[in-house]
């Protein structure tokens, strides 16, 4: 049987565009972090924190995150199924619609059109674009899986299918709204139902967009980078099904101590704790896959990105369940601790694994060796240090903030005014902004390395392609 002809140009396009939106996301993130320090940097009505912050999150999640998912899924599904992509035309349509959607989202958010639902701020016309985009993508991937030449499905394919189905259900349900004008709609859910559905979506968007796809990538790129299969495929299957079984119940842990029914809060708390098991099933599988290969942490930059990535995933999935416990939540919820947690996931786990995937792909889609491995190592250290400064400063700030909010005088009055607690945050917001700048420099080093790879990278030796990434 002849070797299948895989489509790589479309992967290249998605990689390039996800990088563009990734830079936008980080750049806007750095800008809003300085706006927090200096309110004079807000230029109303368009360039204010309130309008730029959703651009930062949406460019990060939908532009960088989902753009990378498109690229990686299209690359991986063809190889894992040993068959070309079902429809190249559909993928090209998806590429155009993807960029049109991101641009439309950015413009309307700048103009102030906002549903006020976090991570779902876009108004209904853009929701429709997203639905068409995701359906087109899902059909293409699922049809490729159906037409596969491999009888058994590798674990990455399971995570990919979960992401496709999960995001479709979550997004559609949370988008249910009654339009009242071209750019205004009202959710069909009201009151506590609205809050419950919103966080069922919000937390599970993390599951289906920022956990399942990076796990699909991790399970694919780790063995490809080390040259050694994963430790246990059976463990990965059990971790997958238990993750899927447990994740969808946990959204209400964002609503502890609110008027939603107490049993829903308890259920969410219990399932959040149970979620440690499947999360760590993948972490342990990753670590065990390195048995006898730990030296590669020294001389294979791809392994560094992947193992640090899964380590941040492990830390994230311990910290998250702790935050879902009522007593702990009462202390840290609504403080700066929470963005510290989220950014360990996005800047640490998701981005490190995605970047490893892109480095792995470069020689395969451009036919050139990565331009500079020292630059890739510099990129690694800049983003890891930047992220650690970012998150650590926010965890300390969050604890301080919570302590000040909860401090009471003997007569029961509050010890500190809200303004006093804000003033105490300034040094930490400075440190956070500096961490963001270091991270941004790391991303720019990455972009430069990618650009130079395309322009001046050497032709790769065929053998090198088998196990990529050795320094």
């Amino acid at each position: 049987m002849g070797k299948p002809q895989y489509h790589t140009d479309i992967v290249k396009s998605f990689v390039n565009w996800s990088l563009v939106w990734g830079v936008v996301a980080v750049l806007v993130g750095v800008i809003v972090s300085f706006q927090m320090i200096n309110p004079d940097l807000n230029y109303p009505p368009y360039l204010t924190f309130g309008r730029l912050r959703p651009i930062h999150t949406n460019a990060g999640i939908y532009g960088w995150g989902v753009g990378t998912i498109f690229a990686m899924f299209i690359y991986m599904v063809q190889r894992l199924c040993k068959t070309p992509l079902w429809s190249l035309g559909l993928a090209r349509f998806q590429l155009w619609l993807f960029n049109a959607t991101i641009i439309a989202a950015a413009v309307t958010l700048l103009l102030g059109y906002n549903t006020t639902l976090e991570y779902h701020e876009m108004e209904w016309p853009i929701d429709l674009m997203i639905v068409v985009l995701w359906v087109a993508f899902s059909i293409n991937i699922i049809m490729t899986i159906i037409k596969r030449k491999e009888e058994q499905m590798y674990i990455s394919l399971w995570y990919m299918m979960a992401a496709l189905i999960g995001v479709a259900i979550l997004f559609t349900v949370n988008a249910l709204a009654v339009p009242v004008s071209a750019f205004k709609s009202y959710s069909i859910f009201a009151g506590t139902n609205s809050a419950n559905v919103q966080w069922w979506f919000g937390h599970n968007a993390v599951a289906m967009a920022l956990t399942a796809p990076p796990l699909a990538m991790f399970y694919y790129f780790l063995p490809k980078s080390t040259g050694v299969p994963i430790y246990s495929h059976r463990l990965s299957i059990i971790a997958f099904w238990s993750l899927i079984f447990m994740y969808l119940w946990t959204g209400a842990h964002h609503l502890l101590w609110t008027p939603i029914p107490d049993w829903i809060q308890t259920l969410a708390m219990a399932f959040s704790i149970m979620l440690i098991a499947p999360s760590w099933g993948s972490v342990i599988n990753g670590y065990m896959s390195m048995k006898g290969q730990w030296h590669q942490m020294r001389d294979n930059y791809l392994v560094k990105f992947l193992i640090l990535g899964i380590t941040f995933y492990g830390l994230q999935t311990l910290q998250g369940p702790m935050q879902a416990i009522r007593s702990f939540s009462a202390f840290i919820h609504y403080t700066d601790w929470v963005p510290g947690h989220i950014h360990m996931g996005t800047m640490g786990w998701v981005s490190l694994v995605s970047v490893a995937g892109i480095y792995f792909l470069l020689p395969r889609i451009y036919g050139r060796e990565v331009y500079s491995i020292p630059l890739a190592n510099l990129h690694f250290w800049l983003v890891v240090i930047g992220q650690l400064i970012w998150s650590t400063s926010m965890w300390i700030a969050g604890v301080l903030q919570a302590g000040m909010w909860n401090a009471m005088n003997a007569d029961g009055s509050l010890t500190y005014t809200f303004t006093e607690t804000m003033v105490e945050m300034y040094p930490y917001w400075w440190i956070r902004a500096i961490g963001g700048v270091i991270y941004l420099i790391g991303i720019l080093v990455f972009i430069y390395n990618v650009y130079m790879t395309v322009q001046k990278g050497k032709e790769p030796a065929p053998k090198l392609l088998e196990v990529e990434g050795r320094a």
Binding site: R79, L80, K82, E150, Q152, M153, Y154, I155, S156, Y220, P223, K224, G227, P229, I230, S232, H233, R234, I237, I238, W241, S242, F245, R364, L465
Partner: protein
């Protein structure tokens, strides 16, 4: 206990049974080679 609660418990229990069956099928001794095969086959997919 009303019908809604019974139905809710039944669905939860049903999901748990499905999960147990998946674990049993995955870790059955005679299925070991078949269930581990994809991790070797994916190494040669380029």
């Amino acid at each position: 206990m009303d019908m809604a609660s019974i139905l809710y418990l039944a669905v939860t229990f049903g999901l748990f049974v499905v999960f147990v069956l998946i674990v049993r099928n995955t870790y059955r001794r005679r299925n070991k080679d078949a269930k581990e095969a994809p991790k070797y086959r994916m190494m040669d997919d380029d």
